[in-house]
Amino acid sequence: MSTDTHAPFEKDPGSPRGTGELIRLEKVTKRFGDHTVLDNLDFSVDTGKHVTLIGPSGSGKTTILRLLMTLLKPDEGTITVDGDRLFPASEKQVREVRKKIGMVFQQFNLFPNMTVLRNITEAPVTVLGMSKDAAEERARELLEMVGLSEHIDKHPAQLSGGQQQRVAIARALAMRPQVLLLDEVTSALDPELVAGVLDVLRDIARSTDITMLCVTHEMNFARDISDQVLMFDSGRIIEAGPPEKIFSEPEHDRTREFLSAVL
């Protein structure tokens, strides 16, 4: 595959990416028992954009990422990715559409029984049908990008939390997703390890055309990378706009309260 010899990601000006709508949620409702986490939510993300979801815990931000990753199913509504239906859809269709989406978790969720290298090559080989050599070459490039080349043969337990999270980022990118979902990826890290992970993500945001959906409490990071910030409260988006506006002159009282509490 000729594409595998390229650098991990390159901005391609001729690519159709960067234009149009990539993700669309329509009238999505999600309940856990009596509690309505998302309430008739409409929301879309354009290709190549970096969107950050902020808001108090329990406001439904993480639920959106989990719905998009198909770890949860909505009770009502439709979800579309790149023109293809993700919900409701057949299992076969879900498997196809899901290839466009990658996710990095709060708790890393690396496979402890595999080396760093195999964590990254497992899915490209078994899901995308890449050759082992091509997958390993790509894994090396990605590990270099996240600064962990020398740890390639270690197991996750031998790495720090920050290193594990960087491997998890490389693992998600190895599948060449169009969308990267970042679910509070620094919340489980010791404070001194946060910066390394955020630097890697800043780098990816700057140097690639991947679409990012990010739930975070790191407001400076959100300000740096976001094209758009969505403020959630009680399962609804109460305010949306570019980071300069949301962080400097929010319109909504709830947004002001939230920001003054976290900043």
Binding site: M69, K99, F105, N109, F111, M114, E122, R171
Partner: protein, 216 residues
């Protein structure tokens, strides 16, 4: 009572025969119980009652009836339906089946102990269900349960003399036969008693070595 070394010497040829049979029962029975227990544990996770209910009922029944009764049933009742196996084959199958109903619970605990985040990561990477099981979940689950499986191997060793009841000449069977013919009970029974201790000690050493290898 006096100890007679010549009786020990006379018993030894029979002892080696019995030891071989005991080890066969233990090794084959363990393998059957490990494999079948995993099958039960996986079937119990099939999301339909048409599978889980019968599997649950059968394994519950086998677990809660005595192995000795099962041995008699398989050895004396099945032939009436035209199904006949040698005593050793029947015994190995019975003990393997019986213990599989214990190991299935061990596997279940091991599978449930794998963090849900592992399943989520597998979904996020789009791994097929089969691959998720074989490459992610089972390697972690099995690693966790090796010590518990090992305890059942030792347990099974101590149940192997039950096969004497269906004419299998394992160590106790050989000892009893020798004793009845020679009227010397002390020596053969003492010899096999020591043999049981030595086998379980060696087995636990082997299992500990396996555990250590799996941890790293």
């Amino acid at each position: 009572m006096k100890w007679d070394w010549s009786a020990v010497a006379d018993f030894m040829p029979y002892f080696w025969d019995g030891l071989l049979v005991t080890l066969q029962i233990l090794v084959l029975g363990s393998l059957i119980s490990f494999a079948l227990g995993l099958v039960w544990a996986l079937l119990m996770r099939v999301p339909t009652r048409w599978v889980t209910w019968p599997v649950g009922a059968v394994t519950e029944f086998v677990r809660n009836t005595p192995l000795l009764v099962q041995l008699f049933f398989l050895f004396y009742v099945l032939p009436e339906w035209g199904i006949t196996f040698s005593a050793l084959t029947t015994g190995v199958f019975a003990i393997g089946l019986h213990y599989s109903t214990y190991t299935m619970q061990v596997y279940r605990a091991g599978i449930e102990a794998v963090p849900v985040g592992q399943w989520e990561a597998a979904t996020a990477l789009n791994l097929p269900l089969r691959r998720t099981w074989t490459a992610v979940i089972l390697p972690q689950a099995v690693r966790r349960v090796v010590p518990a499986l090992g305890n059942y191997v030792i347990s099974m060793l101590k149940d192997t003399p039950l096969l004497m009841a269906i004419t299998v000449l394992e160590m106790l069977g050989e000892a009893r036969l020798f004793a009845q013919q020679q009227f010397q009970f002390t020596e053969p029974l003492t010899v096999i008693g020591f043999a049981f201790i030595v086998i379980s000690y060696l087995a636990s050493l082997a299992l500990r070595a396996l555990e250590r290898r799996l941890v790293h």
